[in-house]
Amino acid sequence: MRVKLWGTRGSLATPGGDTMRYGGNTSCVEVRADDGTTIVLDAGTGLYRLSQALGPVERLDILLTHLHMDHIQGLGFFEPMFERGFDVHVWGPESSTLDLRGRLSRYLSPPLFPVRLRDFRCQLTLHDVMRLEGFRIGPLEISVAPVVHPGPTVGYRVREGSATLAYIPDHEPALGMDRLPEDPNWLSGWTLAADADLLIHDAQYTTEEYPEHVGWGHSSLEHVLEFATRARVKTLVPFHHDPGHSDAMLDAIFGHWLALRDLPFRIVPAMEGASFHLSSSPEQATATYL
């Protein structure tokens, strides 16, 4: 399984000279199975660049964790949505009163956006995921579960053979707690992340910033390190960088924690364009940069 990061920024796209290395596009991750089956995790502004590089695929599945703007804004600019007959499946959480179609239509309609959902020329199929525990797309086994974040929000666990990716880009497991619970059954997201080869996880805030943002649905890097330790992951990719954090600030934040902690996993901070290959062999996942 190959994983490529097309958007790593949280909340707001932040193009500019001081965000070029970690990236300014919002959440979007391409996952390509060994047979070429392709899924996309979230449709932030990174999806626009992915559409330029997608190459020939017969079907595309876009898995949304939730419907905040930074996770769906790329949909209306994704070229395959406008290809007549192209097979696109969008998966995401419904609410207690609206299905995914109804919720997406809130954004994909005037005055927020000129194109309506029904105007896409592709063969579009929408899937509500809140009642699902898992589904299969080609060789990829997908598990889905709700996680702590305002509004209906899920994380995904993607398996191909023995290779496992966990994707929880917006997550606040420490909400209302002084420390994470000892019993993993009480830990939001644990079942998605447990023993994953690669965990892509929200790490928006510093320890100092977090108290001012409790309940906003995001984690401090310190919380994420604890979460990843509990989940026994092999590689952690801190993701969903705060729009106010420049490359220099992120270097300092990650450098501080890497110097302080002797961690039982590898940390590869999310950078736009980074790729990971997850082998089905028991070896640790490797990261290569394009």
């Binding site: 207690s96 898992g134 589904f135 997908i142 579960a145 702590v148 209302g176």
Partner: protein
Amino acid sequence: MIAPVRGRGIELILMRQLASCLAAPIVLCDPRGDLIYVNEPAEELLGLRVGESDTVSVHELADRLCVRDDTGERLSWDQLPNRLAASSGRAVQRRLLIRGSDGRERRLDATAFPLVSPVGENVGTVSIFWESTDEG
């Protein structure tokens, strides 16, 4: 067949986090009625301690607390407020007499309500307690 990955419902996890921050005595039960969380004020009020990973079955709970109605009549496990809330899908209020594991007799007002997920699944119940005054 893809292995399900759900642990406790996110609604229960959030409710536990909220309950841990409140002064009101609160217990959480799973859909069967088994007790899975007791916050500190409830530990003190009920004289009941439950470890983070422990579960107390609804049968054991009724026995351990020697739960009675306000006339002193013993209540079976399926008459406890949490069970009634789970089975009826509505909030339930009852006055109870209990004997905590510390041996102290207590008269309580209990309100229990079901936690229903956005897709209509009953994921557990919340019970809130007040120690009753003689005036009621």
